[in-house]
């Protein structure tokens, strides 16, 4: 098992200053631009970013499907090809194909044979909630059902690293829940699970760690609550007739101010500090409400901020 012997610091995945540029007719596109990150074993990590942020490009380099122009990508301290050959990686690609003219069971059985330490096929089918589809042709299934076949293929190798690109797209609510229940078991077994998703509530609920990238760079890295805090992800609202804008803008930890006649809505990274400062200044607001914002608002806030920042830089 190369895991322990070859990577002294125990990182499952390492990206060190990785860049990848594509050349389009409109000029070069810096899909990934100096990305550095390390994933430790046993973590469940959500990989977030707006469309075109470089998520798929990063995952492709991670899996050795494409090479970085510069920088270093390592899996279990070695190359992706070696790790894959030793069955260290189970992956579910967004653009991954399935066979035609085969049944679900045949497809999953093939995958079991293509991995050195597979779990029993019946187990994989059951965990992916497709035992009842085992004798159906893969190419006759719906998109959500095919996702579940891919999921069975990702877990059958019993690999210590599981990489999932948009795993629940096209699944209904019930299957999405079954999917995450199984993923939680995997994580409990000490496997590292890295998933890219569009559903931010999934990242919020299931990931211990959230990595946000934008424009090919690392934007935020931490637990969901840390990211919400850093994004100013609390909303403080109150009624305060006649307060001047200048007073509000002087408050600490402020991210965003919104007024509607007497009602004031503040987005703040530390709602306590902001509120105390307002009280200390002698104001007595009414109808105070403090509301935690979801990861989705936090995500939108930090990527929007990053994009505006980029625009300002470009304007200079």
């Amino acid at each position: 098992m190369p895991r322990d012997t070859r990577s002294p610091d125990g990182a499952v995945v390492e990206f060190e200053n990785v860049s990848k540029t594509f050349h389009s007719p409109k000029g070069p596109v810096h899909a990934v631009n100096g990305l550095t990150m390390a994933l430790r074993p046993g973590q469940t990590i959500a990989f977030l970013g707006p469309n075109g942020a470089g998520k798929s490009t990063s995952l492709n380099m991670l899996l050795g499907l494409s090479r970085p122009d510069s920088g270093r990508v390592a899996l279990f301290g070695g190359t992706a090809a070696e790790a894959i050959k030793h069955g260290m990686v189970g992956a579910m690609l967004q653009s991954g194909g399935l066979m035609s003219d085969v049944t679900v069971r045949e497809q999953v059985e093939l995958w079991a044979k293509l991995h050195p330490r597979p779990i029993p096929v019946a187990d994989a089918l059951k965990r992916a909630n497709i035992a009842d589809l085992a004798d159906r042709r893969v190419d006759k299934l719906s998109g959500g059902q095919q996702q579940r076949v891919q999921f069975a293929m990702a877990i059958i190798g019993d690999s210590p690293l599981i990489v999932l690109d948009e795993p629940t797209t096209g699944m209904d609510v019930e299957n999405r829940q079954a999917f995450w229940a199984t993923m939680r078991e995997r994580a409990y077994e000490g496997k590292t699970v890295l998933f890219a998703t569009h559903y931010l509530e999934e990242a919020d609920q299931f990931a211990e760690r959230v990595i946000v990238i934008n424009k090919g760079r690392l934007l935020a890295d931490g637990s969901a609550s840390e990211i919400k805090a850093s994004a100013g992800a609390k909303r403080l609202s109150f009624r305060l007739p006649g307060v001047q804008d200048a007073v509000l803008h002087r408050l600490p930890n402020l991210v965003h101010v919104e007024r509607q006649a007497d009602i004031v809505r503040l987005q703040t990274s530390d709602s306590d500090a902001t509120l105390y400062a307002l009280l200390d200044a002698g104001y007595r607001p009414a109808d105070i409400e403090i509301q935690a914002l979801g990861l989705e608002q936090a995500f939108l806030a930090i990527t929007a901020e990053d994009n505006n920042h980029g625009t300002l830089e470009a304007a200079r």
Binding site: K85, S95, S100, M153
Partner: protein
């Protein structure tokens, strides 16, 4: 190796289940032979029943080698299946190995079905060794079209692979005299095609028990050409 063999086995099974293969490589030559083959005339010095049996077996073997795999390789490259395979312990050459073996395996039923109709329904007679020699030679020369399948599959998209197959294979089949015997200028052109010479290997064995160097030379030359194209397509596709 175990992984590659598993994939190969499943690949063969898939082709045998596929409608397009069954129609073009088995049903069509068998039907044509049943409809056209029962004439009591002679062609190229042999009974027409035997002549047309060898023509249809050649057609079926080549169609079996070419049609399914070319389109399948193109489709599977596009759908992401070949990428998916790169995330397993399958060696890099495993996929194309499975496809080549599949092509070689799926030529066999076409030949056996047409030969079966010849022997049992149309009463074609020849010594046992000639049956065997003809089957083995057909199987060997169909490697030419196995290479062409790989060349087309790695060069074309799923949408264009099918027309590419039709536009290369049908003219070769017709000019090679597989569907009906040709004469005059068309036959002179046709002689340069592997389809014509592969068929002639069969009729020569039946008539004289010998094969000509010209036939072997023409088939081998096309075989080398298609193999070079296959390697070139494969390499340029891998670099993308």
């Amino acid at each position: 190796m175990n992984a590659t063999l598993t994939l190969t086995k499943l690949d063969v099974l898939r082709v045998l289940r596929n409608g397009r293969y069954l129609i073009f490589a088995i049903a069509m030559p068998a039907a044509l032979y049943l409809i056209i083959g029962k004439q009591n005339t002679q062609a190229d010095g042999v009974d027409f029943k035997a002549y047309y049996m060898l023509a249809m077996a050649t057609y079926g073997a080549f169609a079996g080698a070419l049609m399914n795999n070319s389109i399948r390789i193109a489709t599977e490259r596009k759908s992401g299946w070949t990428r998916q395979l790169r995330l397993t312990s399958l060696p890099g050459w495993g996929y194309v190995f499975a496809k080549v073996v599949t092509s070689l395996a799926t030529t066999i039923p076409s030949v056996l079905v047409v030969f079966g109709i010849g022997a049992f329904l149309n009463h074609v007679e020849m010594p046992a060794w000639k049956w065997v020699a003809n089957a083995v030679i057909l199987w060997l020369v169909s490697m030419t079209f196995v290479s062409l399948a790989v060349a087309i599959g790695y060069r074309f998209d799923p949408e264009t692979a099918q027309p590419a197959v039709m536009l290369t294979f049908f003219p070769m089949a017709i000019l090679g005299g597989l569907w009906f015997p040709l004469g005059g200028t068309l036959e002179k052109i046709g002689k340069w095609f592997p389809t014509y010479q592969a068929h002639k290997l069969g009729t020569d064995i039946l008539a004289t028990g010998k094969i000509s160097a010209t036939s072997i030379g023409v088939v081998a030359a096309w075989g080398v050409l298609f193999a070079l194209l296959a390697v070139a397509s494969y390499r340029s596709a891998k670099e993308q």
